[in-house]
Point group: C2
Chain length 391, copies 2
């Protein structure tokens, strides 16, 4: 039996695992110090009341013969697909049920969607980047190329005449940088993809943090995107579903390559290697999208964005260059001293604050650092006080 040797091409250790090990080692040596974690993008606010009530009700149904739900539809229940259609309608985007695939999370979809593409495609990812985009392609033996995201282009690269890609990853608002494309930026990529028969994988996991009307929530707000883009969304950051697990992928009916609808390939993939999302979880996700649910989670978004403002204010006070911090729960700043792993160590040991070193996200991340707004006000304020004091 031969293993998939492409796995051996992966870098040894996953970024967040290394960060976790370093924090654990520091805590073991300094048991009296409290480390504030503003590194990994996990949320802290509990599920909203509407979701809790809907899930409790769904659990009770599952305990009765009359209310019991067995295998669900492969693409998700109508009630959740329709709630998502309404969600998109608010951005002026019309979707069909057949185009919406409910899943156990955006990370699964980001990895699994690659099943439907040949191994010989040229893959373009921004650098810095969410490591999963790169690793999932390396696992399949695909060649990965990088689009430079730098301070010069505001960490929002655009295609030019040298850009040569079949599959393009975009994430806006961006993880890790917090930078957000406007419609013109996305239009440049859509035009590129259509001219080249490329496909855009658009990661919309952070769309709920967009509030400025000139910034798009969905790539489908841009003309022509239905012919070239797959969009992946998530309830993780939107509604605190990191431990509850629900996401969705949109594959428009118009999106065809080699005469084949990608939506049909993805349905075949999902109906063969997946069996739907828990009924209880789907009820919770639909409740999040209800009027009551939206009001409740918007209060959480405001809470997190206040944290982002606290971090942005502190960085401004220190005269540190950054992007993000508004329209996004991430703040991406230039390390005031040293390379990004050295700065990580310094911030951890001098201020007991853990962030994420930019180098972990790619070559262009060197010299930068990511903080997340998903902590509590108290921790965020305390972390920035310590940061200012220590540096």
């Amino acid at each position: 039996m031969n293993i998939n040797r492409h796995y051996l091409d992966l870098q040894d250790s996953y970024l967040f695992a290394t960060v976790a090990e370093k924090i654990a080692a520091y805590e073991a040596q300094n048991p009296d110090q409290r480390v504030i974690r503003l590194g990994i993008g996990d949320v802290t606010r509990p599920l909203c009341r509407a979701a809790v009530e809907a899930m409790e009700q769904a659990v009770r149904e599952q305990g009765t013969a009359a209310g019991f739900h067995g295998y669900g539809p492969y693409q998700g229940y109508d009630f959740l697909q329709d709630a998502l259609r309404q969600h998109y309608a608010a951005f002026g985007v019309t979707l069909e049920r057949d185009e919406i695939f409910v899943s156990d999370g955006a990370k699964s979809d980001v990895g699994n969607i690659l099943d439907i593409f040949a191994a010989d495609n040229r893959v373009l990812v921004p650098d810095p980047v969410y490591p999963v985009y790169v690793d999932t392609n390396i696992m399949a033996g695909r060649r990965v190329f990088y689009a430079d995201a730098t301070a010069e282009n505001g960490f929002l690269p655009l295609p030019d005449e040298k850009t040569d890609a079949d599959i393009v990853y975009l994430c806006s608002p961006n993880n890790p940088t917090g930078a957000v494309y406007d419609r013109a930026g996305l239009k440049a990529w859509v035009d590129y993809a259509r001219a080249r028969d490329a496909v855009i994988l658009f990661d919309a996991a952070y769309e709920c943090f967009v509030t400025r009307p000139e910034l798009p929530h969905s790539i489908y707000e841009v003309e022509g995107a239905r012919e070239c883009a797959i969009e992946i969304g998530s309830f993780s950051k939107t509604a605190g579903f990191t431990g509850t697990r629900c996401g969705y992928t949109v594959v428009p009916l118009e999106l065809k390559r080699g005469g084949v609808r990608l939506r049909d390939l993805w349905l075949r993939r999902q109906s063969t290697k997946f069996n739907g999302v828990s009924y209880v979880v789907q009820r919770g996700a639909a409740a999040v999208l209800s009027g009551e649910g939206q009001r409740q989670i918007r209060a959480d978004h405001a809470y997190y964005m206040e944290n982002a403002a606290i971090m942005a204010d502190a960085l401004r006070e220190m005269g540190v260059w950054f992007v993000g911090g508004e329209q996004s729960p991430y703040v991406w700043f230039r390390c005031p001293e040293g390379d990004s792993w050295a700065f990580f160590d310094r911030l951890l040991t001098r201020a007991q604050v853990a962030g994420t070193p930019g180098a972990g996200f790619g070559r262009n991340g060197e010299g930068y650092f990511r903080l997340t707004a998903f902590g509590t006000h108290e921790d965020t304020q305390e972390a920035m006080r310590r940061f200012i004091k220590a540096l």
Copy 2:
């Protein structure tokens, strides 16, 4: 952009989709007839009380800041891993936490585990077979070979000197036939795999229906299996989790190929393309494995096995040859007349009973038919009355 053209090698339609279409067409033309569905293996008994209570409690925790659970461990929570270890200990099998990977269901794992294997492996599946084993390999461009399961070998093929495989699928109790390997049968496959450096993918989704002490629940009850076998389990049939979604995969630490631990590859796959199972669902699954939960679900197993006995008795009365019907929720019988799709149509139109034609599971399934024990007593009794009357 090039699609994965191996998808075009898949047969056009998924077995159960075709069955569902035929039933829908019949019902549309005969709105006054009630079709009894003993085809697809979905369960009808609700979740047990222990699971419902644990899930309600977990949902409430998710609604509080103090009890909130965000991203969980990639391999599942300790409380569920430990409950599974105890479950296996009852069969005399000792597992480490590091070997247990909790997932959203056995179907996902059966498909996704193939990621860690090279495309050039020779894959052996029994015929007849659960279609997912074949389709997931075709999607990756692997060559699939068949081990003949026939009335002559009791639908339990064994390796012989001509068997040439790198990856071997075994499912016991079997879907679709209901046949169950004894320890000697599994030992023959384990010895084969060890001698050849092959890997066995052992599907244990139906182990809870085994009650005879001489029959194994797990392949790890057989000496040497830890060096060659991956086992995939499920709460779907065990505890009615078809719509709640939880399963698990065991990859023993001893299982290495090419000097690499398969457990490490699988962890890399899961930590890159998966983000764990809902906390609420994991609490429910652990409750199923508690003493109280086990007592409750055993009553459901007994209920289903009474259905199996009803079907077996009716077939005996008609003098129809079959396997399964005990130690398994499936009954696999020789069609009393015609090929298996013709028999499907006849049973549907004459008796308003829907089963699954054996031909849908492979060449050797032709002339056979599968019924499942997951309906109600009333429906099962009525279906067999109609069957006897009609044929």
